[in-house]
Assembly symmetry: C2
């Protein structure tokens, strides 16, 4: 398994280092950062809207999501998080949570005190930049989801989401042979895509019939990446996975 749940600091260090090469000193400082591990069952709220957390969390295993409710009780999932993500890093500078974070599968989460993060940022400005950048990538993903939900058909939207999750999981070593574990119900997919669960069912069937995805239990496989990418109008630029060099 590429994931190392018992070394949460390493997961964070590897992720930051991959786009923002760290010095030994910075690496050492991150290694020292206290992270409190916690196992969480599926469908549990981790942070609620309106709260004022004194810590941020780091996903180590499993999946979480960020969501809000409309007045009619309809839920919009605004982001899905995979291992390595820090879903509420924003709370470091925005006192009040404007969304809720919940687990969508059983997961392991690490908690980091804001106090510790602030100290770290004060001493290492480059780490500040790295964390800031993380939140900017989150924002970029929100923008792409807006395009997805606002302008694309259910079919394209779904294909796009599968592409995104595949690439993000690949980046943390959780994809093998174009195949990955993705324990998510159709109802949650519906909330993420802004359609109904019934329509998710039909849309997935269409994607399967077209040979773009295969699903067995919670295992998703992509037999033809190029075709899925095209169907989802997917361009990974918005994930900012590399610091693209040159002009």
């Amino acid at each position: 398994m590429a994931l190392m749940p018992h070394q949460p600091n390493d997961l964070m260090i590897r992720k930051l280092d991959s786009i923002f090469p760290l010095s030994d000193e910075e690496r050492g400082a991150l290694q020292q950062l206290p992270i409190l591990l916690k196992g969480i069952k599926a469908d549990r709220e981790i942070v609620g809207i309106g709260e004022r957390p004194a810590q941020s969390c780091l996903i180590l295993e499993g999946f979480t999501c960020a969501y809000k409710l409309s007045h009619l009780g309809k839920r919009q999932i605004m982001a899905l998080h995979v291992p390595g993500d820090m879903p509420d890093l924003q709370s470091l500078h925005l006192a009040v949570m404007d969304m809720s974070i919940a687990s969508i599968s059983a997961c392991t989460v690490g908690f980091i005190q804001h106090e510790d993060l602030r100290r770290l940022c004060e001493r290492y400005p480059r780490l500040t930049a790295a964390f800031w950048r993380e939140t900017l990538v989150d924002a970029s993903i929100y923008r792409e989801w807006l395009l997805n939900v606002g302008q694309r058909s259910a079919y394209t939207r779904m294909a796009h989401l599968v592409c995104e999750i595949l690439i993000r999981l690949k980046a943390v070593g959780l994809v093998e042979e174009w195949s990955f574990q993705w324990p998510i119900t159709q109802e949650k997919l519906a909330d993420a895509l802004g359609i109904t669960a019934v329509h998710v069912s039909r849309t997935l069937q269409a994607l399967r019939a077209d040979g773009l995805i295969r699903i067995e239990k919670t295992q998703v496989s992509v037999p033809d990446w190029e075709r899925l990418k095209e169907a989802g109008e997917f361009d990974p630029l918005y994930l900012h996975l590399q610091v693209r060099k040159g002009a």
Copy 2:
């Protein structure tokens, strides 16, 4: 007029100071920041997707928007910017633009070199935090728009957008008597809300018929704020306009 286009630094200082009280030294440093002014006509691209800007911009007068296109050429406007906003501050840490910025009315924009911003941030960590926070508020607005586009009816969406613009303009002193200048076409509203221009027309008529808004040329008036707020399911929490005190 509350706006001072000839003192761009002041606009920025006032905005940052209002949520993040600045020391005299920080204020002085911001005052020194070179800002290059430029007048821009309506419907001009200011920064394009794929570019690698060496500067960020600050809106001084008028309105701009951030957008992307789907493969079918449909446009999603992901954000509207009002005076005081920095639409592409993100480019400070994300090398490649993942969206385009364009004027939606004639406007005055100030350009700030990344180099200068970086120097400023290195010397004044609290300013780093303030700028970081700005980008976090942008992200929060994207999230609310996702909820808006994904889960609410056209009628509610439109009411919500009007509420948001009113509050944001109010924050920079551009609202008088629940009334403000908003030179935006219905086609652009359509692109922002993820509906068609024809449907915008009908929706605005419904809002007018219900006495929630009045429109004369480019002047928008809100006769009954409480009712509009309710119709738009609007809660300004997500704008993070104050650092809410206490638990």
